[in-house]
Amino acid sequence: MNTPLNSFRNLPDERGHFGQFGGRYVAETLMPLVLDLEREYRKAQQDPAFQAEFDDLLEHYVGRPSPLYFAPRLTEELGGAQVWFKRDELNHTGAHKINNCIGQILLAIRMGKTRIIAETGAGQHGVATATVCARFGLPCVIYMGAEDVKRQSPNVFRMKLLGAEVVPVTSGGATLKDAMNEGLRDWVANVHDTFYIIGTAAGPHPYPEMVRNFQSVIGKEARAQMLDRTGRLPDLLVAAIGGGSNALGLFHPFLDDPSVKMLGVEAAGRGLDGDEHAASLLGGSPGVLHGNRTYLLQDADGQITEGHSISAGLDYPGIGPEHAWLKESGRVDYTAVTDEEALDAFQLLCRTEGIIPALEPSHAIAAVKKVAPTMPKDSIILANLCGRGDKDIFTVADRLGVAL
């Protein structure tokens, strides 16, 4: 597809900048590797065999394309716009994370790397990474905050079953950002043989672009499916945002469709007025962390503050740099919903559609719940159902006061 001159789809530039965001803020030890990774990724992009293998694995191993689903009872309950879901929770491993992992492990193999590392928050990216490592027979080390290891024990067990070594990280707040620090430390020390599969559209260039491109399969499929089913494009796209890869995957192929509005949903935790949230865009400010310049939760001295969300997958004090740019350019609107609202939306989808969503997309559903009633009945909302909720039933039971 040709991109128009004033496209929203032609960033980053050659230095990995999305406007004033992105870039490559890493220590010198990593710099040559990050440059090498970019060269190898560019070659892979030009290689039809690479794309063919990616497509083949997505179809036969992941189970793509994922369905586009009209949610009749939820639509009726909300009494406004038609609500549709992109069903990426039906992917192998239960979330969108696997799309990116397939792409990155193919690149790792192409580069001759023999050891894989990754960070994980909720454990979905860790499970997806462990899965592709098992599939390709590569050893795998997953860094996970010790706090998240406790919150997400089923996923820890899954990773171990898949043959991964799970390393609990106790530094800092012992959550996702600390796991990412530890991943970067491992990479610095093992640059000769190790490939770091970053799980979200953040980190040093080319990761934000590369992860977005691998995840864009979501939006490409959804766009074609929607045109095929309804003969038109949706009016509004909605997706939850931690680092922001599922949202970019859905949004990016639609960015140059001016009639399509977009809403990214951050985690407001216990409320944006306090410190206990994970809304980097709405409650943070620009800074430099984990290889890129983006919006961060930080204090006046630039010390990073701990995010909070009921969803371990959104509990990150930064956000992918492309979202920072999309916010400043005004192309995408951003909002935030609280733990309580997400919990309500979680139960609403269970009850109305027979789908147990993960707590991450429950944030998107909570935003849909607010906005759908304000839109005409012939309008269409498409939300990304980026993960299934099996992993979250313990957290939800606990919050609802149910002993399992």
């Binding site: 230095r15 004033q20 870039g23 490559r24 803020y25 890493v26 220590a27 010198e28 030890t29 990593l30 710099m31 040559p32 590797l33 530094s171 800092g172 950002k177 600390d178 620090n181 970067l184 430390r185 610095v188 020390a189 640059v191 000769h192 800074g287 430099v288 962390l289 984990h290 290889g291 310049r293 961060l296 930080q298 006046a300 001295d301 630039g302 010390q303 990073i304």
Partner: protein
């Protein structure tokens, strides 16, 4: 003559000592290092997410922040150090986010006012250090502060000129591809890389990462203009608290002797 030029201009290698600001009695610890023979001081600015550091310096960062250390405190330690030690070069070392939080101009101005000679920012590579409102190097140079860059075993000859362009003060050669305080590199590799770097620059080359003992420091000093010791000193700050200055003095004196006499045989 700049303080760096006189510290590295002596007919013997220089000892560069690192501690984290706000971890224990910073003024007393710094005085101990200088009195025992440190030629250059690196003062670490604590950060919540010290990605290039190993467990020893990570813990020091968290101890310091836990004690409430702010950027204003770090600058105050620097100002007071300069008043007590007018001739010893002082380098601030840390990560981009605390340095550029109020803008590079603000930081460069504040560091200059505090009498700082050089700044090492671990995570702003040369590729990001120009033509943007938060490039730190240009702001530092404008105020006479040396931007000190790192070269590593992964910095090949094709890339080295880019690292050296705009570097001032000295070049910090990170001898291992890894984090601070871990294993030491083979001396042959250090010798070869320092020689390679010195072909491309007039700057003194100091070698660090993984240097813990006087023996190691002395061996490296035979081939380099300076030797940097950090984690071993930081561990003393962590283990001995108020008693740290005496212990720091002991180790630093041994390091200084080894480094200063390395080329006498």
């Amino acid at each position: 003559m700049s303080r760096f030029a006189s510290a590295f201009g002596k007919p013997r290698p220089a000892l560069v000592c690192f501690i984290t600001a706000g971890d224990g009695d910073t003024a007393a610890n710094l005085d101990a290092l200088v009195e025992a023979g440190a030629d250059v001081i690196e003062l670490g600015m604590p950060f919540t997410d010290p990605m290039a550091d190993g467990p020893a310096i990570q813990s020091a960062n968290l101890r310091s922040l836990g004690a409430g250390t702010t950027t204003a405190d770090v600058l105050r330690y620097a100002t007071e150090f300069r008043a007590r030690h007018p001739n010893v070069p002082l380098v601030l070392m840390g990560y981009a986010n605390p340095m550029v939080r109020r803008g590079p101009e603000w930081f460069a101005e504040a560091a200059a006012a505090a009498g700082v000679d050089g700044v090492i920012c671990v995570d702003i590579p040369p590729e990001e250090d120009f033509d943007s409102p938060w490039a730190l190097g240009p702001a530092l140079r404008e105020r006479g502060i040396a931007p000190i860059r790192l070269a590593t075993p992964t910095t090949d000859s094709a890339r080295l000129p880019q690292v050296l362009a705009g570097s001032e003060g000295f070049l910090y050669y990170v001898s291992v591809a890894g984090i601070t305080g871990k294993q030491q590199a083979a001396i042959a590799s250090i010798k070869e890389n320092v020689a390679r770097i010195k072909q491309s620059t007039e700057l003194p080359v100091a070698v660090g990462f993984g240097v813990r003992t006087p023996e190691q420091a002395g061996e490296i000093a035979r081939h380099a203009d300076g030797v940097v010791v950090g984690s071993a000193l930081v561990e003393i700050c962590g283990a001995y608290g108020a008693e740290a200055p005496a212990k720091l003095r002991e180790l630093t004196a041994a390091l200084a002797h080894a480094v200063h006499t390395a080329r006498q045989d």
